[in-house]
Amino acid sequence: MTSARPPKRTKSPRLPTQTLLAKIFHWTNLISLFVMLFSGLQIYNANPVFGGRSGWNFPDYLTLGGWLAGGRNWHFAAMWFYALNLLWYGLYVMISRRWQKRYASGSDLKALRVSQNAKRKNYALHRLVYTAIIPILVLSIASGLAMYKPASLHWLSSLFVDWQTLRTVHFIAVPIFILFTFVHSLLALRVGSIHLIKSMFV
Protein backbone atom coordinates (compact mmCIF):
# COMPACT_ATOMS: atom_id res chain seq x y z
CA MET A 1 0.00 0.00 0.00
CA THR A 2 1.47 3.27 -1.07
CA SER A 3 0.83 6.25 0.99
CA ALA A 4 -0.37 9.39 -0.72
CA ARG A 5 0.56 11.92 1.87
CA PRO A 6 0.01 15.52 0.92
CA PRO A 7 3.19 17.53 0.61
CA LYS A 8 4.27 18.95 3.92
CA ARG A 9 3.67 22.64 4.39
CA THR A 10 6.72 23.91 6.10
CA LYS A 11 6.56 27.61 5.34
CA SER A 12 4.26 29.58 7.66
CA PRO A 13 3.84 28.46 11.26
CA ARG A 14 0.33 27.34 12.17
CA LEU A 15 -1.71 30.17 13.70
CA PRO A 16 -3.63 29.34 16.84
CA THR A 17 -7.34 28.63 16.35
CA GLN A 18 -10.16 28.31 18.83
CA THR A 19 -13.53 26.66 18.59
CA LEU A 20 -16.52 28.91 18.02
CA LEU A 21 -17.93 27.86 21.41
CA ALA A 22 -14.78 28.98 23.20
CA LYS A 23 -15.09 32.36 21.46
CA ILE A 24 -18.75 32.74 22.40
CA PHE A 25 -17.89 31.88 25.97
CA HIS A 26 -15.15 34.51 26.08
CA TRP A 27 -17.28 37.29 24.64
CA THR A 28 -20.30 36.58 26.84
CA ASN A 29 -18.16 36.17 29.92
CA LEU A 30 -16.24 39.39 29.35
CA ILE A 31 -19.31 41.55 28.65
CA SER A 32 -21.58 40.10 31.34
CA LEU A 33 -18.79 40.26 33.90
CA PHE A 34 -18.17 43.94 33.24
CA VAL A 35 -21.91 44.70 33.49
CA MET A 36 -21.94 42.78 36.79
CA LEU A 37 -18.90 44.73 37.94
CA PHE A 38 -20.13 48.26 37.20
CA SER A 39 -23.69 47.59 38.43
CA GLY A 40 -22.17 45.88 41.46
CA LEU A 41 -20.28 49.06 42.34
CA GLN A 42 -23.60 50.94 42.11
CA ILE A 43 -25.09 48.50 44.61
CA TYR A 44 -21.96 48.78 46.76
CA ASN A 45 -22.42 52.55 47.03
CA ALA A 46 -25.88 52.19 48.62
CA ASN A 47 -24.17 50.78 51.70
CA PRO A 48 -20.39 50.30 51.33
CA VAL A 49 -19.14 46.86 52.35
CA PHE A 50 -16.32 48.63 54.16
CA GLY A 51 -17.54 51.32 56.54
CA GLY A 52 -21.29 51.10 55.96
CA ARG A 53 -23.08 54.42 55.48
CA SER A 54 -19.96 56.42 56.32
CA GLY A 55 -17.81 54.30 54.02
CA TRP A 56 -16.07 55.48 50.87
CA ASN A 57 -18.12 55.50 47.64
CA PHE A 58 -17.00 54.65 44.14
CA PRO A 59 -17.21 57.63 41.75
CA ASP A 60 -20.32 57.82 39.53
CA TYR A 61 -18.41 57.12 36.31
CA LEU A 62 -17.60 53.63 37.59
CA THR A 63 -21.22 52.78 38.35
CA LEU A 64 -24.01 51.51 36.14
CA GLY A 65 -27.72 52.00 36.69
CA GLY A 66 -27.96 55.57 38.02
CA TRP A 67 -29.15 54.55 41.48
CA LEU A 68 -29.62 51.43 43.58
CA ALA A 69 -32.75 50.14 41.83
CA GLY A 70 -31.17 50.62 38.39
CA GLY A 71 -27.95 48.94 39.51
CA ARG A 72 -29.94 45.98 40.82
CA ASN A 73 -31.86 45.71 37.54
CA TRP A 74 -28.62 45.47 35.57
CA HIS A 75 -26.97 43.17 38.11
CA PHE A 76 -29.85 40.70 38.27
CA ALA A 77 -30.20 40.70 34.47
CA ALA A 78 -26.51 40.16 33.72
CA MET A 79 -26.32 37.38 36.33
CA TRP A 80 -28.33 35.09 34.05
CA PHE A 81 -25.98 35.59 31.12
CA TYR A 82 -22.93 35.25 33.33
CA ALA A 83 -24.09 32.14 35.23
CA LEU A 84 -25.71 30.26 32.33
CA ASN A 85 -22.69 31.02 30.13
CA LEU A 86 -20.44 29.45 32.73
CA LEU A 87 -22.81 26.50 33.10
CA TRP A 88 -23.00 25.54 29.43
CA TYR A 89 -19.28 26.10 29.01
CA GLY A 90 -18.59 23.84 31.96
CA LEU A 91 -20.76 21.12 30.43
CA TYR A 92 -19.00 21.61 27.07
CA VAL A 93 -15.58 21.32 28.70
CA MET A 94 -16.69 18.10 30.40
CA ILE A 95 -18.41 16.49 27.42
CA SER A 96 -15.73 17.42 24.88
CA ARG A 97 -13.05 16.34 27.36
CA ARG A 98 -11.27 19.64 26.93
CA TRP A 99 -10.56 19.54 30.64
CA GLN A 100 -8.04 16.76 30.01
CA LYS A 101 -5.95 18.80 27.59
CA ARG A 102 -6.73 22.48 27.91
CA TYR A 103 -6.35 23.04 31.64
CA ALA A 104 -3.48 23.01 34.09
CA SER A 105 -2.32 19.56 35.15
CA GLY A 106 0.46 17.98 37.14
CA SER A 107 2.84 18.29 34.23
CA ASP A 108 2.39 22.09 34.25
CA LEU A 109 3.21 22.23 37.94
CA LYS A 110 6.26 20.08 37.29
CA ALA A 111 7.34 22.28 34.38
CA LEU A 112 7.08 25.36 36.59
CA ARG A 113 9.38 23.74 39.13
CA VAL A 114 11.98 21.94 37.04
CA SER A 115 11.76 22.96 33.39
CA GLN A 116 14.70 24.88 31.89
CA ASN A 117 12.59 25.83 28.90
CA ALA A 118 11.29 29.38 29.35
CA LYS A 119 8.55 28.87 26.77
CA ARG A 120 7.30 25.77 28.49
CA LYS A 121 7.32 27.58 31.82
CA ASN A 122 5.34 30.53 30.43
CA TYR A 123 2.83 28.16 28.93
CA ALA A 124 2.46 26.30 32.23
CA LEU A 125 1.95 29.55 34.13
CA HIS A 126 -0.65 30.74 31.60
CA ARG A 127 -2.60 27.50 31.95
CA LEU A 128 -2.34 27.57 35.71
CA VAL A 129 -3.70 31.15 35.93
CA TYR A 130 -6.70 30.60 33.68
CA THR A 131 -7.52 27.33 35.40
CA ALA A 132 -7.37 28.99 38.81
CA ILE A 133 -9.92 31.66 37.83
CA ILE A 134 -12.65 29.01 37.35
CA PRO A 135 -13.24 28.33 41.06
CA ILE A 136 -13.26 32.12 41.61
CA LEU A 137 -15.94 32.52 38.92
CA VAL A 138 -18.00 29.81 40.62
CA LEU A 139 -17.42 31.30 44.07
CA SER A 140 -18.72 34.69 42.98
CA ILE A 141 -21.93 33.05 41.75
CA ALA A 142 -22.30 31.10 45.00
CA SER A 143 -21.71 34.16 47.20
CA GLY A 144 -24.00 36.24 44.99
CA LEU A 145 -26.84 33.70 45.20
CA ALA A 146 -26.33 33.43 48.96
CA MET A 147 -26.89 37.18 49.28
CA TYR A 148 -29.69 37.38 46.69
CA LYS A 149 -31.76 34.60 48.32
CA PRO A 150 -30.49 34.15 51.91
CA ALA A 151 -33.83 32.69 53.06
CA SER A 152 -34.58 30.29 50.19
CA LEU A 153 -30.92 29.29 49.93
CA HIS A 154 -30.21 29.42 53.65
CA TRP A 155 -28.00 26.32 53.42
CA LEU A 156 -25.77 28.22 50.99
CA SER A 157 -25.57 31.52 52.88
CA SER A 158 -24.85 29.72 56.15
CA LEU A 159 -21.61 28.44 54.58
CA PHE A 160 -20.27 32.00 54.56
CA VAL A 161 -20.19 32.45 58.37
CA ASP A 162 -21.97 35.80 58.57
CA TRP A 163 -23.37 38.58 56.39
CA GLN A 164 -20.25 40.77 56.46
CA THR A 165 -18.04 37.84 55.44
CA LEU A 166 -20.48 37.00 52.66
CA ARG A 167 -20.48 40.57 51.33
CA THR A 168 -16.69 40.72 51.55
CA VAL A 169 -16.20 37.43 49.69
CA HIS A 170 -18.57 38.61 46.96
CA PHE A 171 -16.86 41.99 46.67
CA ILE A 172 -13.32 40.53 46.54
CA ALA A 173 -14.28 39.16 43.12
CA VAL A 174 -14.00 42.71 41.73
CA PRO A 175 -10.24 43.26 42.29
CA ILE A 176 -9.54 39.61 41.45
CA PHE A 177 -11.31 39.81 38.08
CA ILE A 178 -9.64 43.10 37.16
CA LEU A 179 -6.23 41.71 38.08
CA PHE A 180 -6.98 38.48 36.24
CA THR A 181 -8.01 40.32 33.08
CA PHE A 182 -4.58 42.01 32.99
CA VAL A 183 -2.47 39.01 33.96
CA HIS A 184 -4.37 36.63 31.68
CA SER A 185 -3.97 39.02 28.72
CA LEU A 186 -0.28 39.57 29.40
CA LEU A 187 0.43 35.86 29.74
CA ALA A 188 -1.53 35.13 26.55
CA LEU A 189 0.57 37.74 24.76
CA ARG A 190 3.77 36.17 26.06
CA VAL A 191 2.70 32.65 25.14
CA GLY A 192 1.16 33.21 21.74
CA SER A 193 1.57 36.91 20.92
CA ILE A 194 -1.34 38.88 19.53
CA HIS A 195 -2.30 35.90 17.37
CA LEU A 196 -3.43 33.93 20.38
CA ILE A 197 -5.58 36.77 21.72
CA LYS A 198 -7.06 37.40 18.29
CA SER A 199 -7.85 33.72 17.89
CA MET A 200 -10.00 33.81 21.02
CA PHE A 201 -12.14 36.75 19.97
CA VAL A 202 -12.47 36.78 16.17
Binding site: N47, F76, H154
Partner: protein, 233 residues
Protein backbone atom coordinates in the same frame (compact mmCIF):
# COMPACT_ATOMS: atom_id res chain seq x y z
CA UNK B 1 -11.90 69.91 5.42
CA UNK B 2 -11.55 66.23 4.67
CA UNK B 3 -9.61 65.87 7.86
CA UNK B 4 -12.47 67.21 9.98
CA UNK B 5 -14.96 64.89 8.29
CA UNK B 6 -12.84 61.86 8.94
CA UNK B 7 -12.49 62.88 12.54
CA UNK B 8 -16.25 63.27 12.82
CA UNK B 9 -16.69 59.84 11.27
CA UNK B 10 -14.23 58.40 13.69
CA UNK B 11 -16.20 59.89 16.58
CA UNK B 12 -19.40 58.46 15.13
CA UNK B 13 -17.88 55.04 14.82
CA UNK B 14 -16.52 55.12 18.33
CA UNK B 15 -19.90 56.35 19.52
CA UNK B 16 -21.51 53.32 17.94
CA UNK B 17 -19.17 50.82 19.48
CA UNK B 18 -20.77 48.80 22.20
CA UNK B 19 -17.97 49.62 24.62
CA UNK B 20 -18.69 53.32 24.54
CA UNK B 21 -22.45 52.72 24.74
CA UNK B 22 -21.71 50.93 27.94
CA UNK B 23 -19.45 53.72 29.18
CA UNK B 24 -21.99 56.40 28.28
CA UNK B 25 -24.60 54.67 30.38
CA UNK B 26 -22.35 54.53 33.40
CA UNK B 27 -23.46 56.93 36.07
CA UNK B 28 -26.85 57.47 34.47
CA UNK B 29 -29.92 55.29 34.71
CA UNK B 30 -30.15 54.90 30.94
CA UNK B 31 -31.96 51.65 30.12
CA UNK B 32 -32.00 50.45 33.70
CA UNK B 33 -35.81 50.62 33.78
CA UNK B 34 -36.11 48.72 30.50
CA UNK B 35 -33.59 46.13 31.64
CA UNK B 36 -35.61 45.66 34.83
CA UNK B 37 -38.88 45.32 32.95
CA UNK B 38 -37.34 42.76 30.60
CA UNK B 39 -35.77 40.54 33.25
CA UNK B 40 -38.10 40.97 36.25
CA UNK B 41 -40.72 38.41 35.07
CA UNK B 42 -37.99 35.76 34.93
CA UNK B 43 -36.52 36.79 38.29
CA UNK B 44 -39.97 36.84 39.86
CA UNK B 45 -40.89 33.40 38.50
CA UNK B 46 -37.62 32.05 39.91
CA UNK B 47 -38.34 33.57 43.33
CA UNK B 48 -41.90 32.23 43.36
CA UNK B 49 -40.48 28.82 42.52
CA UNK B 50 -38.04 29.01 45.45
CA UNK B 51 -40.75 30.19 47.85
CA UNK B 52 -42.17 27.52 50.14
CA UNK B 53 -44.21 27.61 53.34
CA UNK B 54 -41.32 25.92 55.09
CA UNK B 55 -39.95 28.10 57.91
CA UNK B 56 -36.55 29.68 57.33
CA UNK B 57 -34.00 28.45 59.92
CA UNK B 58 -33.82 30.86 62.84
CA UNK B 59 -30.98 32.19 64.99
CA UNK B 60 -30.40 32.00 68.72
CA UNK B 61 -31.11 34.92 71.07
CA UNK B 62 -27.35 35.39 71.60
CA UNK B 63 -26.91 36.10 67.90
CA UNK B 64 -29.16 39.19 67.91
CA UNK B 65 -27.37 42.28 66.55
CA UNK B 66 -29.15 45.23 68.21
CA UNK B 67 -26.92 47.91 66.65
CA UNK B 68 -27.15 46.68 63.10
CA UNK B 69 -30.83 47.36 62.46
CA UNK B 70 -30.75 50.83 60.87
CA UNK B 71 -33.76 53.11 60.77
CA UNK B 72 -35.09 53.93 57.30
CA UNK B 73 -38.13 56.14 56.90
CA UNK B 74 -39.39 57.90 53.80
CA UNK B 75 -41.20 60.68 55.68
CA UNK B 76 -41.77 61.55 59.31
CA UNK B 77 -42.22 59.13 62.21
CA UNK B 78 -45.90 59.02 63.20
CA UNK B 79 -46.69 59.03 66.91
CA UNK B 80 -49.66 56.75 67.45
CA UNK B 81 -51.66 56.50 70.67
CA UNK B 82 -51.73 52.75 71.40
CA UNK B 83 -55.14 53.10 73.10
CA UNK B 84 -56.72 54.65 70.01
CA UNK B 85 -54.92 52.43 67.51
CA UNK B 86 -57.05 50.18 65.28
CA UNK B 87 -56.00 47.70 62.60
CA UNK B 88 -58.50 47.39 59.75
CA UNK B 89 -58.67 44.19 57.72
CA UNK B 90 -60.87 44.55 54.67
CA UNK B 91 -61.21 44.07 50.92
CA UNK B 92 -61.73 40.56 49.53
CA UNK B 93 -62.53 38.96 52.88
CA UNK B 94 -65.73 37.46 54.26
CA UNK B 95 -65.26 39.02 57.68
CA UNK B 96 -63.83 42.54 57.61
CA UNK B 97 -62.38 43.30 61.03
CA UNK B 98 -61.17 46.10 63.20
CA UNK B 99 -58.71 45.09 65.90
CA UNK B 100 -57.34 47.04 68.83
CA UNK B 101 -53.81 46.53 70.10
CA UNK B 102 -55.29 44.66 73.04
CA UNK B 103 -57.15 42.32 70.67
CA UNK B 104 -53.87 41.57 68.90
CA UNK B 105 -51.91 41.05 72.10
CA UNK B 106 -54.39 38.51 73.44
CA UNK B 107 -53.90 36.40 70.32
CA UNK B 108 -51.16 33.72 70.25
CA UNK B 109 -47.70 35.37 70.30
CA UNK B 110 -45.13 34.11 67.83
CA UNK B 111 -41.49 34.99 68.41
CA UNK B 112 -38.72 34.54 65.87
CA UNK B 113 -35.04 35.48 65.57
CA UNK B 114 -34.38 36.09 61.90
CA UNK B 115 -32.13 38.03 59.56
CA UNK B 116 -33.56 41.32 58.36
CA UNK B 117 -32.04 42.15 54.97
CA UNK B 118 -32.16 45.66 53.55
CA UNK B 119 -32.11 46.35 49.82
CA UNK B 120 -29.19 48.71 50.51
CA UNK B 121 -26.98 45.75 51.35
CA UNK B 122 -26.87 45.62 55.15
CA UNK B 123 -28.48 42.97 57.33
CA UNK B 124 -29.24 42.52 61.03
CA UNK B 125 -30.28 39.58 63.15
CA UNK B 126 -33.43 40.67 64.99
CA UNK B 127 -36.01 39.12 67.28
CA UNK B 128 -39.58 39.98 66.35
CA UNK B 129 -42.67 39.08 68.36
CA UNK B 130 -46.24 39.37 67.18
CA UNK B 131 -49.23 37.70 65.58
CA UNK B 132 -48.93 35.58 62.48
CA UNK B 133 -50.58 37.35 59.56
CA UNK B 134 -51.74 33.87 58.59
CA UNK B 135 -53.77 33.81 61.82
CA UNK B 136 -55.36 37.23 61.19
CA UNK B 137 -56.30 36.22 57.67
CA UNK B 138 -57.76 32.97 58.92
CA UNK B 139 -60.11 35.02 61.08
CA UNK B 140 -60.95 37.45 58.28
CA UNK B 141 -61.45 34.59 55.80
CA UNK B 142 -60.09 35.67 52.41
CA UNK B 143 -62.48 35.15 49.49
CA UNK B 144 -61.34 32.55 46.96
CA UNK B 145 -60.38 35.24 44.44
CA UNK B 146 -58.06 37.10 46.85
CA UNK B 147 -54.49 37.07 45.58
CA UNK B 148 -52.74 40.16 46.92
CA UNK B 149 -52.46 41.91 50.25
CA UNK B 150 -52.10 45.68 50.51
CA UNK B 151 -50.66 47.31 53.61
CA UNK B 152 -51.30 50.96 54.38
CA UNK B 153 -49.32 52.81 57.01
CA UNK B 154 -50.00 55.82 59.21
CA UNK B 155 -47.21 57.78 57.49
CA UNK B 156 -48.66 57.28 53.99
CA UNK B 157 -46.35 54.39 53.11
CA UNK B 158 -48.01 51.61 51.16
CA UNK B 159 -46.96 48.10 50.12
CA UNK B 160 -48.44 45.07 48.41
CA UNK B 161 -47.54 41.41 48.84
CA UNK B 162 -48.49 38.17 47.14
CA UNK B 163 -50.88 36.17 49.31
CA UNK B 164 -48.51 33.17 49.47
CA UNK B 165 -45.75 35.25 51.10
CA UNK B 166 -48.27 36.97 53.39
CA UNK B 167 -49.45 33.63 54.76
CA UNK B 168 -45.92 32.30 55.32
CA UNK B 169 -45.68 31.09 58.96
CA UNK B 170 -42.89 33.62 59.66
CA UNK B 171 -44.73 36.64 58.31
CA UNK B 172 -45.75 38.50 61.46
CA UNK B 173 -47.65 41.61 62.41
CA UNK B 174 -45.08 42.43 65.07
CA UNK B 175 -45.38 44.57 68.20
CA UNK B 176 -42.12 43.42 69.85
CA UNK B 177 -38.49 43.87 68.86
CA UNK B 178 -35.56 42.23 70.65
CA UNK B 179 -37.75 41.31 73.62
CA UNK B 180 -39.18 44.77 74.14
CA UNK B 181 -42.20 46.71 72.96
CA UNK B 182 -41.67 48.10 69.49
CA UNK B 183 -40.38 51.70 69.48
CA UNK B 184 -41.97 54.40 67.33
CA UNK B 185 -38.83 54.44 65.11
CA UNK B 186 -39.22 50.74 64.38
CA UNK B 187 -42.92 50.96 63.57
CA UNK B 188 -44.94 51.00 66.81
CA UNK B 189 -47.54 49.94 67.50
CA UNK B 190 -47.63 47.36 64.66
CA UNK B 191 -45.39 46.51 61.72
CA UNK B 192 -44.71 43.76 59.24
CA UNK B 193 -41.75 41.47 59.91
CA UNK B 194 -40.62 38.51 57.83
CA UNK B 195 -37.40 36.74 56.84
CA UNK B 196 -38.66 36.12 53.29
CA UNK B 197 -38.91 39.70 52.00
CA UNK B 198 -36.52 42.66 51.71
CA UNK B 199 -36.79 45.39 54.35
CA UNK B 200 -38.75 47.86 52.20
CA UNK B 201 -41.57 45.29 51.95
CA UNK B 202 -41.88 45.25 55.75
CA UNK B 203 -44.10 48.26 56.37
CA UNK B 204 -44.04 50.03 59.72
CA UNK B 205 -47.06 51.66 61.45
CA UNK B 206 -49.52 49.42 59.57
CA UNK B 207 -53.11 50.57 60.05
CA UNK B 208 -54.87 48.82 57.19
CA UNK B 209 -54.62 45.40 55.56
CA UNK B 210 -56.62 45.11 52.36
CA UNK B 211 -56.95 41.99 50.25
CA UNK B 212 -57.41 42.39 46.50
CA UNK B 213 -57.84 40.08 43.54
CA UNK B 214 -55.37 42.03 41.42
CA UNK B 215 -52.44 44.36 41.68
CA UNK B 216 -53.36 48.01 41.42
CA UNK B 217 -51.30 50.50 39.39
CA UNK B 218 -49.54 51.54 42.58
CA UNK B 219 -47.81 48.53 44.08
CA UNK B 220 -45.67 50.12 46.77
CA UNK B 221 -43.90 53.34 47.69
CA UNK B 222 -40.45 52.19 46.59
CA UNK B 223 -41.69 49.86 43.88
CA UNK B 224 -43.37 52.82 42.17
CA UNK B 225 -39.93 54.46 42.19
CA UNK B 226 -38.10 51.50 40.70
CA UNK B 227 -37.48 48.70 43.20
CA UNK B 228 -38.62 45.17 42.37
CA UNK B 229 -42.16 44.35 43.48
CA UNK B 230 -41.61 40.78 44.68
CA UNK B 231 -38.51 41.59 46.74
CA UNK B 232 -38.22 38.00 47.90
CA UNK B 233 -35.33 36.59 49.86
Amino acid sequence: MSKSISRRQLLQWSGLSSASLLLNSCGSNLWSKEVGQAIEPLNQATQALLLTQKPVPEYSLEQIEPDKLLINTFAQTPQIDPAKYRLQIEGEVNHPMQLSLNDLQTMPLTSMVIQHVCVEGWAAIVQWGGVRLQELLRLAQPKPNARYVYFKSADGYYESWDLVSATHPQTLMAYQKNGQSLSADNGAPLRLASPIKLGYKQSKWVTQIMLTNQLMPKTGYWEDRGYEWFGGL
